[in-house]
């Protein structure tokens, strides 16, 4: 589904990403761990086609990603802080973003999508400016769901979420994976990575230095490995 082949990105003389090689298959959650500036967000930006690689390539379903490609149709993106438009409610935001991706839904369908993302019905018509971070995150998930994308990129989705919201988020991720979608997640949250992830990669200074299968490592071991790496 997702493939990075020698994927590299330079900003001037700074190497933000160096020869990244990885594959994420359908039904997998790939969690990328690393400090700030390790290259996680750069990797996501390359897959989103927001920037062009300096070397190598990013492939989605075998199709090379670049600024002009239409691979965006196959993916969805949930940023770290889902701001959206604060003066509009959940339904209006979802309606706009889903129509932007070429999907038009009835109000009933929009409500269903928001409910599926875990947003309570009474919150659907409240202005987004009154939402908590977790509630906004759910609208972000509903937007991803509305697109029916095969791959979902998440940039530090649980940062700032309370434990309950994190748990709800984890549940939704598992449901998405069960629907044969793949998730590529950049995160600092080691425990959540072990909990939700299928595979984990640890990045340091632009390089992918370790990969591990979550079935073969627990949170403490991962934390130890992570601390050793950075």
């Amino acid at each position: 589904m997702l493939e990075a082949i020698d994927l590299s990105k330079m900003y001037g003389n700074h190497e933000a990403l160096i020869d990244l090689n990885l594959t994420v298959r359908t039904g997998e959650v790939y969690c990328l761990l690393g400090q700030n500036g390790a290259g996680k967000t750069t990797t996501i930006n390359l897959f989103l086609g927001l920037i062009n690689p300096s070397r190598g390539k990013a492939l989605i379903n075998g199709k090379e990603v670049n600024i002009n490609s239409d691979t965006n149709q196959m993916i969805a993106y949930i940023p770290e802080v889902v701001q959206l438009y604060g003066n509009m409610d959940g339904i209006e935001n979802l309606n706009f973003f889903s129509r932007l991706s070429g999907h038009t839904y009835s109000k009933k369908e929009l409500v269903e999508l928001l409910e599926k993302a875990g947003l309570k019905k009474e919150d659907h018509t409240k202005k987004l400016s009154s939402y908590s971070k977790g509630m906004r995150q759910k609208v972000g998930i509903a937007i991803a769901l509305s697109k029916n994308a095969q791959a979902i990129f998440m940039d530090e989705p649980t940062s700032g979420l309370d434990p309950k919201a994190t748990d709800e988020f984890t549940t939704i991720c598992k449901e998405l994976v069960a629907e044969d979608k793949c998730i590529f997640m950049a995160t600092h949250d080691i425990f959540n990575a072990v909990n939700v992830g299928s595979r984990i990669g640890i990045m340091n200074e632009g390089k992918l230095v370790h990969t591990a299968d979550t079935s073969s490592i627990n949170a403490n071991e991962l934390q130890e490995l992570y601390l050793k790496t950075i």
Partner: protein, 480 residues
């Protein structure tokens, strides 16, 4: 570029703006300004009744003269009043600073008097609140204020990445936001244009020419709104923060509406200086005296003229001529003084035109100037319309003076022994009635547009340039 997505983004921007309270506050402020500008425009235009009444009174006074010596009538003179164009309700232009009535008499080209500025405090120098003025200076501020963060705030909030990842292209986002902003700008402009239309419909003087002008004015302001919207989105996209974008746009507004127009005026006056009124009059006076004084029988020029006339007609005295020699001298004198005046006046106008030319060329870099110039020209309140009135008044004055001279030449004779009501050297009052009244004609739309061809080209160029800037920006813009 998918039109459906562009319109979706435009509609979303519109909805998003109307979800804020600020837009309603802006609408209320503009509404108050609109009411005041309409009131002041209609009040201003109402002066036409006053002017036509006075034109009528001047005519009655002219026709009410009894049988008289025509030269006395030439000095009795009359008034020419400048009629306000129906569209002057929309754009006052320079009318408040130019006069609107001129006394017409023989031998003398009086200045056009009774300008509003002459009867006002210095506050008028800050500009009047016309509908055009609001659209030219306040509307850009509104567009900048509503649109400065249109793109940059999405980047600041990370929403831009989401928009792009949803499949919208940069071009669709930028054009969508530009159209959304232009819709808002048009919403603000529309009441001004509709009220002007309503005023024109209710004005009995509105002809086909007026409707064409109104259509072109509407197009001018709609293009201006589009250009400003595109420029706002361009600046918003290229800025690092919302604050940065707002500062840039406010700077642009100051440059556009204050600094560049003032600089062009200052440069114009510096490069093409004009004489003071006293210098101008003195020069003409000196040259007329050099050519001879038609009222002085001992003037060498006119003595020579008399000798040549006597020689041609083979008589010894002017009283033996088959026409009135005094009238003939006045006619020649009028022709000479008018020629001298016109020469100096044309030189002066040329200097003013050179000053204006600088302003017009600056319109190439400043769409505000282009709109301002075009709007004044189409509303008949620009400098050229004023000059045209001056020209019409001078032609009328010259014809009146020469007609009186002609009547003197034909009908007044020193050899006459009897005349009307016991007066020997008089002409029938019917002659006064036979001379047509002054009727101010507006400058034709063709000439107005020709005068402002640079401004029209500038607006077209700015439209293409602004679209080009957005296309260019869509290729180099960054979401992060």
């Amino acid at each position: 570029m998918r039109i459906g997505i562009v319109l979706l983004i435009a509609k979303h921007f519109w909805t998003s703006v109307f979800k804020t309270r600020t837009i309603y506050l802006l609408m209320a402020i503009v509404g108050i300004l609109l009411i005041y500008s309409v009131y002041s425009g209609t009040r201003y235009y109402d002066q036409n009744h006053f002017r036509s009444d006075h034109q009528e009174m001047a005519r009655k006074s002219w026709e009410g003269n009894p049988d008289k010596h025509p030269h006395r009538m030439a000095h009795f003179g009359t008034f020419a009043f400048r009629t306000k164009h129906p569209l002057s309700q929309f754009d006052f232009g320079i009318e408040s600073f130019t006069g609107n009535a001129v006394f017409l008499e023989a031998h003398k080209q009086n200045t056009v008097n009774f300008s509003e500025a002459g009867f006002s405090t210095g506050l008028l120098r800050f500009g009047e609140l016309s509908m055009a003025m609001i659209l030219q200076t306040i509307l850009p501020l509104i567009i900048f204020f509503v649109g400065y963060s249109a793109i940059v705030s999405d980047r600041e909030h990370g929403t831009l990445k989401l928009l792009l990842s949803q499949g919208a292209s940069w071009k669709e986002i930028l054009f969508g936001r530009s159209i959304g902003l232009a819709w808002i700008a048009i919403l603000f402009s529309l009441p001004f244009l509709l009220i002007t239309l309503w005023l024109l419909i209710n004005d009995h003087h509105s002809s086909g020419d007026v409707w064409t002008r109104f259509f072109m004015i509407s197009m001018t302001y709609l293009l201006f709104a589009l250009i400003l919207s595109l420029v706002t989105i361009f600046v918003s996209t290229g800025s690092k923060s919302s604050k940065n974008a707002l500062v840039k746009l406010l700077g642009l507004w100051m440059l556009m509406t204050v600094l560049l127009p003032r600089s062009s005026q200052a440069l114009g006056s510096y490069f093409y200086s004009t004489p003071t009124k006293l210098e101008f009059r003195s020069k003409i006076e000196a040259e007329v005296i050099q050519h001879g004084d038609s009222h002085n029988p001992n003037d060498p020029h006119y003595q020579a003229l008399r000798d040549s006339v006597l020689a041609v007609h083979q008589v010894d005295d002017v009283t033996e001529l088959p026409f009135n020699y005094g009238g003939f001298v006045m006619s020649v004198g009028e022709e000479i003084s008018a020629r001298i005046y016109n020469k100096h006046h044309n030189e002066l106008l040329e200097q003013y035109r050179n000053q204006n030319k600088l302003n017009r060329w600056l319109a190439i870099v400043n769409p505000y100037l282009a709109v301002k110039n075009l709007s004044m020209a189409l509303c008949g309140t620009d400098f050229e319309s004023y000059v045209d009135f001056q020209l019409q008044a001078e032609i009328y004055r010259y014809e009146l003076a020469q007609k009186m001279n002609e009547l003197q030449i034909k009908h007044i004779s020193p050899n006459r022994v009897s005349g009307s009501e016991g007066k020997t050297h008089v002409v029938s009052r019917e002659e006064w009635k036979a001379f047509p009244d002054f009727e101010h004609q507006y400058l034709s739309i063709g000439r107005s547009l020709k005068n402002e061809s640079i401004s029209s080209i500038s607006l077209m160029l700015w439209t293409f340039l602004a679209i080009g800037l957005i296309v260019r920006q869509s290729k180099i813009a960054k979401a992060i």
